[in-house]
Symmetry: C2
Subunit: 134 residues, 2 copies
DNA sequence: AATTAAGTTTACGTTAACGTAAAGGTGATG
DNA sequence: CATCACCTTTACGTTAACGTAAACTTAATT
């Protein structure tokens, strides 16, 4: 029985998959946002699917305008030590705050969408009024 | 009958209301994101409620990680000339794209929330298992 | 009349998040 | 064995989005 040997990714594979540069990936490692695993200290980085997932989540955070520091804090929530009750509690608490934030964001987005749809409606009517004018 | 004379805001009023600096507001004007109205070219800026709304929308865009340039482009959609059919069409088209983007964001946020709730559940169980351990 | 509060412009400083270039190591391939 | 292709580190450059400071004006108070 070999020790769980799932697929490993190279840095350029991930870069290509997510449409980012290898520099970006190295930078994320530099600031502690993600990890890499290397055989011999000196040579090529390799990434597990867990690393890949973390990167994916990080990029999601970016798309929503979070700073790398904020993202790191959020991702580190998933890596809490399950034997430490106090840590667990703090994690849950912080997580709840984030969830509330997400709810707020969803609400705001839906409002925005609604407003845009109303404008769309107005513009469509304006267009109709000018029908045939070329 | 006086010409529509609704409330005017000063720069520090708006800054305070939205929790930003006056510098930020001037900067937004500098890059054409918002406008101000002044009596005599030289003296204090004053803002209509329309200006205020535009600023509010801009800040909303910021919270979602859009750049000021992107925000400007989006806000300018609202200021289209209604007599220009082609412009109207382009505006509607671009607006539709933004609406689709918003839908995508909402979807992603809901996924994220779901995942976080699942983690929360797991952590709660871990906590329960350790019940009484202090 | 002098101080205070709020505004102005100009201009240089700062930070996050990378881009980019230089100089070099490895392993596969024609 | 030379040339890719891909990786590495180090380090300086760049841009957006303001912060901050200086020097000044104007209106209202003391």
């Amino acid at each position: 029985m070999t020790t769980k040997e799932s697929k490993l990714y190279s840095i350029s594979e991930l870069a290509h998959e997510f449409g980012i540069s290898t520099r970006t990936i190295r930078y994320y490692e530099e600031v502690g946002l993600i990890n890499s695993h290397r055989e011999k200290e000196t040579l090529p980085r390799t990434y597990t699917s867990r690393d890949r997932t973390r990167l994916k989540l990080a990029l999601r955070g970016k798309r929503f305008g979070f700073s790398l520091a904020e993202i790191k804090e959020m991702l580190d929530l998933y890596d809490v030590d399950p034997t430490e009750k106090e840590q667990l509690r703090r994690t849950i608490e912080l997580g709840d705050k984030r969830i509330a934030e997400i709810d707020e964001m969803i609400k705001e987005l839906e409002e925005t969408k609604q407003e845009m749809l109303e404008f769309r409606q107005k513009f469509m009517e304006m267009l109709k009024e000018k029908e045939g004018t070329s």
